[in-house]
């Protein structure tokens, strides 16, 4: 490839400001004595300038408020999940501790009855919480 051809291949990138200093110098030196490359570079320069100044499409006015509401709902959901997880861990530890206390202070049967009762009520409680959470989510999505 001749000097002229190799520089010609760099003209678009020169106008875009994407050449390294050595390549840029090569282009500058070449266009000083090559009219056709100088004209080509000028055309790419104009095109680059016009691309930088193209009118930007305007975002609809509702977009920010809708996005912020969606992000807030997501943050709310994540916070709710963290709280629910923490509460579940606390409940498990509490049930096991009470069970252990009953076992040592009363009897193994009492501890077993406590664990069964606590497990049933926990499952029912968790089911209610899930139903309520899904209803709340549905209400929020309708709003």
């Amino acid at each position: 490839m001749s000097d002229h051809e190799s520089v010609r291949a760099l003209l678009a990138l020169s106008a875009a400001g994407l050449l390294d200093p050595d390549e840029e110098r090569l282009v500058r030196e070449h266009v000083c004595h090559c009219v056709s490359c100088a004209s080509e570079l000028e055309a790419y320069g104009s095109l680059s300038l016009e691309l930088s100044n193209m009118p930007a499409p305007q975002a609809p006015v509702y977009l920010v408020s809708r996005t912020v509401a969606m992000v807030a709902a997501e943050a709310d959901r994540r916070q709710g999940a963290v709280l629910a997880g923490g509460a579940a861990v606390f409940a498990c530890v509490f049930v096991l501790l009470v069970g252990q206390m009953l076992r040592t202070m009363v009897s193994e049967d009492a501890a077993l009855v406590w664990l069964v009762w606590a497990s049933i009520s926990s499952v029912l409680g968790a089911a209610c919480a899930l139903v309520l959470a899904s209803r709340r989510r549905l209400e929020r999505s309708i709003v």
Binding site: L13, A16, L18, V71
Partner: protein, 191 residues
């Protein structure tokens, strides 16, 4: 470079760390502030890339949801702009890959010949509309490279980070995109 003087400096280029910290804490005011701050830039990027408003709206919302979900992975040493646009890029690419007719990077693409409407638009002085029309006909990855370089004013390394491609690929996309647009605009005799 010639075009650099024209890049709009009023757009934010770096995020103050305090705002990122507030975003991480889930502060709704910080979220609203960030969404508003990047609204025009992000929306423009999506419209150029996917070429329809409804998809741009969806991608805009999806991007901010992903930002909130992935904030814990954000490295404050990196530019927030680049990180945000990388999330936007991934969301847009997922959508474009699902479009059967969409050409992401067609090496044999050709822009269509100018029509009568284009000529009228020139007469009316609507060069920008023709320019946007010519850009819209480029393959998606070339459109993206051009909008990140010329409208966002990103450096080569930043574009490579956003798109997850080598520097040489970014250069090649910018060059081919510019060459195709110049060819088209020369045919219309407006360059």
């Amino acid at each position: 470079m010639i075009y650099e003087a024209a890049i709009d400096e009023s757009f934010p280029v770096a995020e103050p760390p305090t705002q990122v910290a507030r975003l991480r804490s889930g502060d709704p005011a910080a979220v609203a502030e960030a969404v508003g701050q990047y609204q025009q830039r992000l929306y423009r990027y999506f419209v150029r890339l996917v070429r329809d408003q409804a998809s741009a709206d969806d991608l805009f919302q999806q991007t901010w949801l992903n930002v909130v979900r992935q904030l814990h992975r954000y490295d404050a040493a990196r530019s927030f702009d680049t990180w945000l646009f990388a999330i936007a890029h991934n969301a847009a690419m997922d959508l474009l890959r699902r479009r059967p007719a969409e050409s992401l990077e067609d090496h044999e693409f050709a822009l269509s010949a100018p029509g009568q409407d284009a000529f009228s638009a020139v007469l009316a002085g609507e060069r920008a509309a023709i320019l946007a029309g010519a850009m819209a006909e480029l393959p998606a990855l070339y459109r993206e490279a051009l909008t990140l370089r010329f409208e966002e004013g990103m450096k080569l390394e930043e574009i490579a980070e956003v798109t997850g491609t080598p520097l040489s690929t970014v250069k090649s996309r910018v060059r081919r995109g510019l060459e195709a647009m110049k060819q088209r605009l020369c045919k219309e005799d407006i360059l």
